[in-house]
Amino acid sequence: MISASKSSHRDSSAKALRNTSFWFAAVALLCLSMADLDISTPNPWGELGLMAAGALSPTVWSWPTLLTSLANTFSFALQGIALASVVGFLMALGYRFTLVRAFCAFIRSIHELFWALLFIQIAGLSSLTGLLAIAIPYAGTLAKIYGELFEEVDPSAITNLPNHSHSHSHKGSLSRSLSRFCYTVLPLAWRSMATYTSYRFECAIRSSAILGFVGLPTIGFHLETMLSEGNYSEAAALFYALLLLIATLRFWLQKRLLPLYLIGAFYYLPPQAQTSWQLVKRFISEDIVPAPLRGQANLNAEGLGAFGQWFNQLWQHQIWPGLINTMLLGQIVLVFTGLLALLLFPLNSPLFFRGWRGFGDAILILLRTLPEYLLAFLGLLIFGPSMVPAILALGIHNGAIIGHLVGRHTDELTLRADVGTGLNLYFYEVLPRIYRQFLAFLFYRWEVILRETAILGILGIATLGFYIDSAFEEFRFDRALILILASAMLNIGVDNFARWLRQRLHLKSMPESL
């Protein structure tokens, strides 16, 4: 690679970036030609008009319901993130072990809605289900971020301390490395950890709200009901309440009050469930065991043959089409997200919107705050079931997130005094400088986009989530589990590919809020 570019006359450091971008866009166009983009509703504009009318006339139909569902949403999120940060921190301490890494990758590759669907079978629509559904995947994510932050800390702080390289041979070396860790790595990483965790808390509130769509008592539950029945004014009130909750967090969720809120959350909504070991045992030893293997003490050839047939059926009719659709949609969304991010980032850049930047960034943060699942649900009501709502919803949500980050990154650019303005500035000065960072953010986000793509299947788009949701509805938990594992494998595969790509393109970045 190096020698090839050296001998070439057009030796450009941007070549690899250009080529990669080209191929991603080309594949996305190909996917677009195969995607289901039908708009099946007779009058999408009419529906949109009704929604807009509703959005302008929010109506609270029941204050107690609104307030309790908001409190539930907040409690699940806070409890979930608290548990996740403790567990994630412990796992991050062992993040250099491949096994720990793999475990974290696995638990975060399963979306919180899928975790919720699993736990509902064991623990019902209980507060325990809500807590675990959020805490488990978030623990995997936080472990990854904390672990990477620990690795990125300036190593000289720790190598300069006595006995560093020879600690392994000493007795009590574990407690010694713990001491060193707490004096160097932890304080160095602390601020980033706190920033990232608080950003993740905002995500957890969205997740918590969305859990209502599968039946938990959060705000999403009432949102789904109201939207499905076309009560857009009532839905708008719920929606604004959620936005208000997220937007005002920074004012009332202060660090020193955190213990108080945490105690309050556990007191208000103690994690509990009406379940029995019998139920759990049955779920694990029977329900999720592939049907042909159930009740067989020993594996025999006949059983294996039946399992092979069963799996083959599942593969042909559900896993494969689900995988293909998920990847197809994921690819389109990824490129659409990228385009939107490039379009939107000037809103949060001092180079373009000097005076209006606060306003521009507020738009991006608002778009980021809209839960993608909810956006897709709205899109579905407007356009009918196809890939269009999913592309729009995921693109807008993720494009705003990356646009916000790229815009903030332009803060660090120092341009000469006589640069052009407008499009000249954008294409000649800014875009080339931020492109590498932009790609880093986008590839970092890829895994999340794919996870979300799979989950939107629950709304009726034929990605893996569609088959998973159907399997749960038919009480075929064995199928559901295999399908969930398939989506987990896909996410892990894409995550590894993205990491490889980032390394190959020398995109070193660890954004704190992705």
Partner: protein, 230 residues
């Protein structure tokens, strides 16, 4: 004569895969005060690192990149050098609230390096020279017989730096320092080793040397191209 503390025979030393010192033969005996001099990139830091690896348990280490933890106090940054002498519980408790014994030990050193008034400021609030003192303090508290320092006083004025060097000599039986101030090296050290182009080109007791003898180390080729270095 006693056995050498550090010994290299025909050794190759590399830094990040790049050969820095070739065919190195060198002995340093207990009780010596050695100055390493040479232009930047001549291999002083690489040599110091190699010395540290020979007997890490006896070394008080004061590197050029101090690697301080900016958000922690001077107290904690100095105490860090003594982590290995205490249990993890003691260390953690001391991280949350400085403990009396640790306070006494650190204050004594802070007095000596004149940081007693900055003891509870975070080190990102200190000046460059004060940060360098903190790094020296972290090496002093290690209470090891051999001090290895890479330009430990480079940003500190001449009078102050000599005070600090004397403190280092008082508390360590053997000292090896990379220094860029040639006159100072001759004044305070008993032996001077000059490095250039990947080799030792000078190794003599400082009593036998004049500052002009050392001009060649920063020779025509090197320092005239880079006159602004000092």
């Amino acid at each position: 004569m006693s056995s050498p503390l550090f010994e290299f025979t025909n050794q190759r030393l590399t830094y990040e895969g790049r050969l820095v010192l070739d065919n190195l033969s060198l002995r340093i005996y207990p009780g010596e005060r050695v100055a390493l001099i040479g232009g930047s990139g001549s291999g002083k830091s690489t040599l110091l690192k190699a010395l540290r690896e020979q007997c890490p348990d006896q070394i008080a280490w004061c590197p050029q990149q101090p690697g301080l933890v900016p958000m922690l106090s001077t107290f904690h940054n100095i105490y860090m050098g003594a982590l290995h002498r205490h249990s993890v519980f003691y260390n953690l408790a001391n991280l949350i609230k400085p403990l009396p014994a640790a306070k006494r030990a650190v204050s004594e050193i802070a007095q000596a390096i004149e940081l007693q008034h900055q003891l509870y400021s975070s080190v990102d609030r200190l000046s460059g020279g004060q940060q360098q003192r903190t790094s020296i303090g972290r090496a002093l508290i290690q209470e090891r017989p051999v001090f290895l320092g890479d330009e430990p006083v480079s940003g500190i004025d001449e009078y102050q730096s000599e005070v600090l060097l004397n403190l280092i000599f008082q508390r360590h039986s053997t000292v090896v320092l990379a220094l860029h101030d040639v006159a100072q090296a001759l004044r305070v050290c008993s032996r001077v080793i000059g490095l250039k182009d990947g080799a030792i080109i000078l190794d003599a007791p400082s009593a036998e040397l004049e500052a002009s003898d050392l001009a060649d180390i920063y020779g025509i080729s090197d320092s005239s191209l880079n006159p602004s270095r000092q």
